[in-house]
Amino acid sequence: MRIALVGNPNCGKTALFNQLTGGRQKVANYAGVTVERKEGRFVAPSGRTLHILDLPGAYSFEATSPDEAITRDVCHGRYPGEAAPDLIVCVADATNLRLHLRFVLEVRRLGRPVVLALNMMDAARRRGIAIDVAELSRRLGVPVVETVAVKRGGAKALIARIDESVPDIVPAAIDQASVEQLHTEVRSILAATVTTSRDTVAIDDAIDRWALHPVFGLAILATLMFFIFQAVFSWAEPIMDAIESGIAALGVFVTGFLPADSALHSLLNDGLFAGLGAVLVFLPQILILFLFILVLEESGYLPRAAFLLDRMMFRVGLTGRAFIPLLSSFACAIPGIMATRSIQDPRDRLTTILVAPLMTCSARLPVYTLLIAAFIPSRSVWGVFNLQGIVLFTLYFAGIFSALGVAFVMKRLRKDKSEHALIMELPSYRLPNVRDIGLGLWERAMIFLKRVGGIILALTVLLWFLSSFPGPPDGATQPAIDYSIAGRLGRMLEVIFAPIGFNWQICIALVPGLAAREVAVAALGTVYAMSGSDDSVASQLGPLIANQWSLATALSLLAWYVFAPQCMSTLAVIRRETNSWRNVAVAAGYLFGLAYLASLATYQIARALS
């Protein structure tokens, strides 16, 4: 049997889906988290296997955004290659029935078997909302069960109900009811079944008075953002140092057993320890960044930030709704670009997709950190801030401002005067659950380690190979890498990149960086280890480049990474989400152009000044 979870945004469908299937799909406190259909399976107590479908939230079957259209099509059996579900579990937020019941009525009109899950019953009880479930079920003509999707065992009643029998279909009383009629029905149902003391939660009102205050609200937002960048830089440092020395010690220990001039010794020392070690060090920073993102996502603050920034974003041709996709892009542009599906206006959506790669993704953090630690002195500024933290902050902001600039130019080019919608729900604040955040971080750590052990390892080994062969001719005077394939390629690319101050080692590192940006750091580690005369290079990349590069080159590379056009997966997802190669070409072209120009300007100015 195939069961679809349908309901308004943010009512807990995905939390319920995870509860049923044991899945780990993303749950967060804002509308539009789920943007595609996700399938899972679960074996009911009776032994039957049920297929569960998690769908994007929708306010109505009159879809106004791509994610709502998916839900509409699946429910109507119009989704390509998929029959309509056998049973619809309509999920509604018990604290928000005035809004959610209308969509329940719309779903009931489909004429398919429906079970209503009243979710968030814990919150409803806390707020003193009393619901007469039996009466509600009688009036709706569908079975109603209470659930608490975020509590273990909170879906028991729902499981029991769907395992029992497929409920009868209620013949729609009024087939072509107008909106007003539906709302009238909702009101009469509510009057008969629900008693509430007050509409809002006092704590929400109190927080919003500050968080949305015209002056304090913006100040709080700016402070919060700045605090995050400082934390990413300063909290992680001790742990990073520990990992770094750990890897170096391990490298010395392991390679100690191998003959010093063997290929295996070189592969382990120059490829694995110098390459992978250089990337692994950044795990703590990435986790701290995600800690903040996860807490913010679950708190309900993000839509508030979108509210505060909507006007400004609108002026430059974006929308407040773009805030959350763009913020997700700080983790990685790929989920960020996917999240734009919740933007109603196709033009707003395209603009957001095209500027999302300008948000500094976590894969660029290793590059930034490496260069900042090597070239920027760790000095305190005005007693409170660290100069390194400030430089990092500036780099992030350079990305944000260029995104605003690019969006503005696109708006101008489009010359479009029509109206774009905002209409965005602000959810109740919620205290993040420590266990969920912990699990989320654990997951991020695993993803990162898998990347390191997978694509980054593969590319590093490949690069080591290309930098080792062909070996140097007899009587060679230069380091072996100069005669290898990678060395030659680097020299060729150097012609293009010399004006922006990149040496051939950087040029080589940029190539595998196309597949995963962090690899650039691993690649630099390997390349320098290969060209170094001694073997002590492992995980000492920072001091080494500090010696060999000019400050101008370092700054230029930082500027390059603000735009960093080289990420294949991002371009692939742009292609998939916009279904157009033209957009891919536009994105790649403008990113490359901006990166080159920015680096050129940075390099030339820095050189002129020094």
């Binding site: 306010y59 109505s60 928000n96 809004l99 909106v179 909507d310 905002l422």
Partner: protein, 81 residues
Amino acid sequence: MRLSDAPKGANAVVQSVSDAHPADPIAQRLRDLGFVAGEPVRLVARGPLGGDPLLIQIGSTRFALRKSEAARVDVLVDGAA
């Protein structure tokens, strides 16, 4: 009075939502969200820049609406005629 012109904190009741142009999807969406005649609404806050967008409470739900969107909603403010 238009909802976009309602004073901050005032309680109001929706009279109607008008289409800005034929088959206006924004007006349709507002009606779906509960902006229908007789529904009590409140303008809770205004955005920091130019007073845009507006934070509107309807039932127990809060929506951020741009001024141009809220202007489609005709309301009667309590106390005012």
